[in-house]
């Protein structure tokens, strides 16, 4: 039992259940399975993005360009769809994955080959990709009336009573679970985060793994691009502006250490769900949506305070002793 309680995910899941309980005291229908399914569906895109960000953060890097990648790739598929409505949706999704991966590969190459810190690289590409969206579209929007019914309807179609969007999220979660717990790549991602120097000596190509990780986060950004555009049925330069920080917030709340090496698929999913529940609950319990930002900010600070308690490292303790002496 004690070992069981050590898992951060358990605490986070408990916090989420308490949160749902509190909300349902004011608005009982919130805890309704149908509504919870809706909340899950609403949070799907954030969950997918948080998983992509997670693998990057685990290797002590960060990808600030995910939201811009989403915006660019979303615009590409929206314009393709507007120009050639005949392209089947699965092919469009593949295109989104490839375009996103290419953008991620640019980040990855700069980090791998030139050894530029990832925060600098993705700070640059954050503005470049969004600017490129403007150049591509000429500043124009792609509206719902230009998108084909399939483009909009694909993710809304119900499969066994659950929308395709939710199924995609479930599939991505499953894939990431297998990647992180059952493959050599997943192991090396953790190893690099825990100790990059030791990883080199164990024969892990740190640079190449980081490159792969950025390709993954790019691919996820691209996939989320299609999902986002077809969900909110508008493609513009402003899409998901500033969303990169929400993605990182979901990871932090999910217990993924920004110092790398610590974090899990379950944590990222729960962190995203936590934010999703708050944003869904505020309107129904009559709190102005303007409260959301401050609440998620407080949640991030609280989460990092709690996480830090579990992560105190040896070096720090020595320093604390020195400080006390």
């Amino acid at each position: 039992m004690k070992a069981f309680l050590k898992y951060r995910e358990i605490w986070l899941a408990a916090a989420i259940i308490v949160l749902i309980g509190l909300i349902s005291t004011r608005f009982p229908a919130f805890a309704d399975p149908g509504n919870l399914r809706q909340v899950f569906n609403d949070t799907s895109i954030l969950m997918i993005l948080a998983l992509g960000q997670m693998v990057v953060i685990l290797t002590r890097s960060i990808d600030l360009s995910m939201a811009s990648n989403l915006c660019f790739t979303g615009m590409v598929v929206a314009m393709l769809n507007a120009a050639y409505p005949a392209i089947p949706i699965p092919l469009l999704i593949v295109i989104a994955l490839v375009v996103g991966m290419l953008l991620g590969a640019i980040n990855g190459l700069l980090v791998w080959r030139l050894n530029i810190p990832s925060i600098v690289v993705t700070l640059g590409t954050l503005t470049i990709y969004r600017g490129a969206t403007f150049v591509l579209s000429g500043g124009a929007w792609v509206n719902a009336d230009k998108m084909s019914p399939d483009f909009i309807g694909f993710q809304r179609a119900a499969l066994l009573g659950i929308p395709v969007l939710s199924w995609i999220a479930i599939l991505v979660i499953a894939l990431f679970f297998v990647l992180m717990t059952r493959t050599a790549l997943g192991r090396s991602i953790y190893a690099i985060g825990v100790n990059p120097t030791a990883s080199v000596y164990t024969g892990i190509d740190v640079g190449r793994t980081k490159f792969i990780v950025f390709c993954i986060s790019g691919m996820i950004g691209g996939l989320a691009g299609y999902l986002w555009i077809s969900r909110y049925v508008i493609a513009s330069v402003e899409v998901a502006n500033g969303y990169e920080l929400n993605i990182i917030a979901a990871c932090v709340i999910g217990g993924i250490s920004i110092a790398g090496g610590i974090g899990s698929v379950g944590g990222a999913v729960l962190g995203a769900l936590f934010l999703g529940i708050i944003s869904n609950a505020l309107p129904v319990i009559n709190i102005s949506p303007f409260w959301q930002m401050a609440i998620s900010g407080s949640a991030i600070i609280l989460a990092v305070v709690l996480n830090a308690r579990g992560e105190r490292q040896q070096g720090r303790i020595i320093l604390r002793k020195a400080e006390a002496a």
Binding site: L126, T127, G131, G297, I300
Partner: protein, 331 residues
């Protein structure tokens, strides 16, 4: 084997050959700045005019003021992503004070104190609780701006007193605006602080090796706390300037400034990993970013396309010395 080694002479500072000055980061930035300046004056006949050049400075003075403090913070190995949110919160508080009938001196005081308070809050979380600053300030970024949103919603505060407009719109002498004068003074102060005082040496020491600094008697926590306070203070001052320039407050004010400020600092040659950097570089980077945005603006290039140039510039300027070193190493 009984030889006692002669005491090693340790110079106060290493000799600097002339070549290192020529190939320094600052020299590279000067070349870039001159090139952009020249291109601009060729591209637009309206560029080389004292009044347009004076307008140009408004593009970077506010962000530049924050960039000085941010440079010190990044050199010490920390970062503050909440500066733009601090501006929003300070501006909102000033707006509330205006509604309550406060006059200009009180407004300025409120802006500065709120900024300082936000910085101190970040500093306490980072130094007292030992939390990573990047995460803390992502949190406070949402928190500070979130409070502004709670207070203002989709409303705006207006009706700032006329005398308040001086800070963002007034001129000290000829074409030198109050903002530019403040920017130059702050540049001098921060240059002195970082490069000519023991405080500055300690900041570098912390950035290079916090543990060694701690054991050498540097009060790491306290200095980091002061740096967070300074960053908050500069954000508060920037908030006064922006609010005065725009004459209104919305909760979305200064959105995205944090990344531009950090871009400025990194472009100025400050290592994002801490331990290296100079104020001269940051000043040059501020000018370069102002030149690029203003020059492209004269050519009717939309703001979002300018941001591509800034992004490309950032990556190229960082990558260039690395590629250069590698090429020389191979030959």
């Amino acid at each position: 084997m009984t030889d006692i080694p002669a005491p090693r002479h340790i110079p106060d500072r290493l000799d600097k050959p002339l070549s290192s000055a020529i190939f320094s980061w600052e020299a590279l930035l000067v070349v870039v700045a001159v090139a952009i300046f020249a291109i601009n004056s060729f591209a637009s006949p309206y560029f080389l005019d004292p009044y347009s050049l004076s307008d140009l400075t408004f593009n970077f003075t506010e962000k530049g003021l924050i960039a000085f403090a941010m440079a010190l913070l990044i050199i010490s190995g920390e970062i503050d992503l909440s500066v733009a949110a601090t501006i929003a919160l300070a501006s909102t508080m000033m707006g509330m004070a205006v509604q309550a009938g406060a006059d200009t001196p009180v407004l300025v005081l409120i802006g500065i104190v709120v900024g300082l308070g936000c910085g101190a809050f970040n500093g306490l979380l980072v130094t007292r609780l030992g939390l990573p600053s990047i995460v803390v300030t992502i949190g406070t970024m949402s928190l500070f701006r979130g409070i502004a949103f709670i207070i203002l919603g989709d409303q705006a505060y207006k009706g700032y007193p006329e005398s308040f407009a001086f800070f963002g719109q007034g001129y000290v002498w000829w074409v030198v605006s109050f903002e530019l004068a403040l920017f130059l003074i702050a540049a001098l102060v921060y240059w002195f602080l970082l490069h000519r005082t023991s405080f500055g040496r300690r900041v570098f020491a912390i950035g290079n090796n916090p543990v060694a600094a701690q054991f050498s008697g540097v009060r790491v926590g306290r200095i980091k706390f002061i740096l967070f306070c300074l960053t908050g203070l500069m954000s508060g001052i920037a908030s006064v300037l922006i609010t005065s320039r725009l004459g209104s407050t919305r909760p979305s004010i200064a959105q995205g400034y944090e990344l531009e400020v950090i871009t400025m600092v990194v472009l100025g040659g400050v290592s994002i990993l801490g331990g290296a950097g100079s104020i001269v570089g940051v000043v040059l980077a501020a000018f370069i970013m102002g030149l690029v945005t203003f020059g492209l603006g004269l050519l009717n290039v939309p703001g979002i396309v300018m941001s591509i140039f800034i992004g490309v510039l950032l990556i190229i300027v960082i990558a260039l010395p690395i590629v250069w070193r590698r090429l020389r190493g191979n030959s």
